[in-house]
Every structure is written in structure tokens, then in C-alpha cells.
Amino acid sequence: MQKILFSPVTRLSGLLSVELSVDQGTITEADVSATMFRGFEYIMRNHHVTDAVYLTQRICGICSMAHGAVASYLLDQLYDNDINENAQ
């Protein structure tokens, strides 16, 4: 069995490595690792819930908009806000 380490995988945001196990021309195992850890799960604790709108945006610089928007939809539910479509 042969092992192939492919790292770094480029043209992406963040860091990625792939390790393959190849047996007679067939890939038997593919381990993909994103080799970066910041611990946002811990950062979010002990914050006022409204901070989520800005903090979660920092998870990803590409889809930050989605994180922020979902956080604010969630707050609307929590606070029972009835916001008209225009304001959303």
C-alpha cells in the first residue's frame, strides 16, 4: 500500500492537506485535514448574544455575510422581532 501526502492544497482560503492511501491503483483512504484552529466555539461564550452578529462574521472572510445574516435572523427569533421584508 502506498501513501501520498498532498500539502498544501492551494487556491483556497484557509489551509488544507490531503493524505491518500492507495492500494493497487485504488484509493482506499482519503484523509483531508484543515490545519487551522481558532476556537470560535469558545470565543462566542460569555458574550452578549447580540455580539454574534459581528463576531460570527469573523469565522470566514468569504461568506461573512451569511454568518452575520443568520446570526441576526436568529436574534429576531429570540427577541420576537417582527421586521418587515424591506428592513430585513
Binding site: L15, R38, N46, C60
Partner: protein, 318 residues
Amino acid sequence: MEKVDFIKLCQDSAKANNHELSAKLLPSARQYLLEHGLGKLPVIWLETNDSGDNNIAFMNTTYPYLNQVFRDMIDLLYSNTFMAAQGTDALQLLEDTMNHYQGKFTLVVEGAVPAKDGGLYNVIARTKKGPLTALDAVVRLGEAAQYVVAIGTCASFGGASSAAPNVTGSVGISQVLKRQVINVSGCPVNPDWFVGTLAHLLMYGPPEVDELNRPKLFYGATVHRHCQRRSYFDNKEYAKQLGDIECMFSQGCSGPRTGSDCPYRQWINHVSWPVKVNTPCIGCTNRDFPDGSAPFFSPLPQKTTSHKQQPDMGKERP
């Protein structure tokens, strides 16, 4: 264009409404290189603990556009995001570039460096010899570089990656290097701040910096000083809720203690900025961001961290 004129150009854009800085940056850099027989700036760009927001913001550059920056200003020799090479090929390129441009390349780091547990929370690449951590790479490349530029608040001061409880022990890159680091903070950075700093390095070497090692060109005045809602603040007319047109000090605005030129430079091709779209400044260029700005919607005196420094209330307003 000589240095004094360039600095004047950067600061004059406070008054201009046609964003002359960006429009004049590329022709002047091109001209300068030609006259002085200089080449492009060789750059190695490392991504460490961050969210990739700064390279996205950098791609937003207009006048010069991204392709013009690549064509006329910098030689991007290694970048996880932009390069075509990958795997061992990419690592070979990094090694070769470092040896070939020893003492001549500019190291750009995007992201904080996790210092805990031997730096294992950020591995730039896995190799047969073991993991190449961000900590190793930044230290090694940082020592070999001519200039080191921290892009974004994570690289500058730790930023969101080092927010409490900071389980990874992330720090700004100046904490792991014994040399000058130019901090171009912001979460993300405004492309003008970064491209402007590159242009300055290219033509005149390191720019003049403030006490946080940021180019004075862009961080010299507070957001509050030039904010369009400033007259409301002076008249003590505060927004009762988000969406009101008055000053958002009451809604947690960090503008009074945040150095940046957002109100007039603005974002996304100079179109808008937070206060203009009814969201308070969250102080993203600050050394203590995000912890020092939280809770984001509480007025400054009620933020978690008690700010020892009196906020600049704009007394020196011109």
C-alpha cells in the same frame, strides 16, 4: 512623484471627493520605478490564523485593480490563495524564493500566530519531515525578509483569532519576531491602506508609523473626527435605536477611540462605510479588537474592558 507629494496625496484625499489617491497611485509608482530603474516588490504572502478576509479585501482594490497591482507593483512569489503550484512544488517554490531573494523580499502575513503547544494550531503545510507550523514559517521568513507587513488586525495585534479565552495562544506577528513589523490593521483591511503601504515600500521604503507601528498615512485620525454624524454628537443628539439618523454613540459606536479614515475613504470602491449604513463602528483597527469593543452595542463607558485612555472626542478637529 517625490515622497512629500505622495504623503500629501494620501492625506489630501480627506478633502477630495474623487479619490485621487487610488487613481494616482499606479501611474506614480510606475513612473518612479522607471525613473529609478527599480523592479517590482518581491512578496511572500503567508496565511496563518485568520478568516481569509484580507485577501478578499485586497482583491477589492480599484485604481489600481488587482491585475495592475500584480503586473506593475508586486511579484507575488508565494501565496496559498493565489498561486497555481501546490503540494511539494509549492513548498519548493517557497524555499527557492527565500534563498534567492534573501534580504530582498517583503513578507506579508495575514493572520495571527498561535504560539501555544509548539504552534500546532496552525500548520501551513504537512511535510514528510513533519508539520511546518505558522510559527516556524513566520519566524524563519521574518528573519530573512527585507520588510515585514502584517495585513489585518489578527496579524497586527492578534485580533479575533486571539479573542478571549484564546485557547490557541494566538498573538500578533510582532510578538514572535525581533524586528520592525509594519501593521496594517483592520478587520478586514481596506485595500487602499494595504496597496498604499506597498506603494510606499516600493518607492520610499518604510512609511512613518504611529505608536502601534501603523502607517500614519491612514490611521492618523479617529473615525469620530471625520464622521458625517459628528454634528449630531456635538449637539448631543443620539440615536434611540439602530436605523435612526443621529449619532450612534448611544448604540455602542467605537468611532471616538478608533484610528482610521473610513468616513471619507469608504469601502467597496469608496461607496459606503458602517455608519453610513446605520451600523456602529466596532473599532476593528484597534489593538484590543474584538474584546475591547464588546459588547458591541453598549456605549463606550459600558464596554467590558475599561478603557484607561480617554477617548479622543475630536478636540483637535480642524
